[in-house]
């Protein structure tokens, strides 16, 4: 389901992608039946948005570029004084 969501989001206009991804993630959380599924929303540097699941993360930067990969590809630090994603160089860009 997450893969489908990413495929749909990447076809949306860049400025709408983060909001669209949030709505898809909420739907997945509500409909996941096999086991509870939850993604943690975190602020990210330079206006990006991040969602961190049990094992994988998705980041959408301010330009609408989408990045995904396993959780060890993000770095968690302080973003505006709060916990957030400070880097995601270990994630792969979704073309």
């Amino acid at each position: 389901m997450l893969q489908e969501a990413i495929s749909t989001v990447r076809r949306a206009p860049p400025t709408e992608r983060a909001e669209l991804m949030e709505s898809y993630i909420q739907k997945i959380e509500q409909t996941a039946t096999e086991e509870p599924w939850k993604a943690t929303r975190l602020p990210a540097v330079q206006g990006a948005s991040a969602w961190c699941g049990k094992t994988h993360s998705v980041v959408i930067d301010a330009q609408g570029n989408i990045f995904k990969g396993s959780n060890d590809g993000i770095a968690v630090g302080r973003v505006d004084g709060r916990p957030g994603v400070s880097a995601w160089s270990g994630l792969k860009s979704v073309p």
Binding site: L42, G53, H56, D72, P83
Partner: protein, 130 residues
């Protein structure tokens, strides 16, 4: 790079360099799972935790644990479905390295990663034999 997960890059490098396939996959999965757990903790806490988590120490401990094949086999069997089911060896190992609740989270990472290992590692050799 990160001021909350100490030595994350080193932890990742260490896990990636483990030569034994099953130990490497298990440890990598545990690292990803640990980060997911800890991020959830961050979201639910109202303040920035004062004690960062040393992920390099974590992967060292996980690697040591997964060398215990009996423990791994027990975890693979699905024996540890709840935090309460996790044997003391996990909890005592991490008790000195993180607050007690996070110790349980770390421990569960190990148990859960065993199932990831089962899915990702056990299937491949069978497929290769075809």
């Amino acid at each position: 790079m990160s001021d909350f997960f100490l030595r994350q890059e080193q932890a990742k490098s260490y896990a990636n360099a483990i030569s034994d396939d099953s130990e490497r996959v298990f440890t990598q999965a545990a690292l990803c799972r640990a980060i997911g757990f800890l991020v959830q903790d961050l979201e639910s806490s109202s303040h920035f935790p004062e004690c960062p988590f040393d992920l390099l120490k974590f992967v060292h401990s996980v690697h040591a644990l997964v060398k215990d094949k009996k423990l791994v086999n027990d975890a693979l069997s699905g024996k540890y479905k709840n935090f309460e089911d996790i044997p003391d060896i996990f909890l005592t190992r991490f008790a000195n390295e993180a607050p007690a609740t996070s110790g349980r989270a770390f421990a569960f990472c190990g148990a859960d990663s065993a199932r990831v290992f089962e899915r990702d590692c056990r299937v491949k050799p069978a497929a290769a034999r075809r």
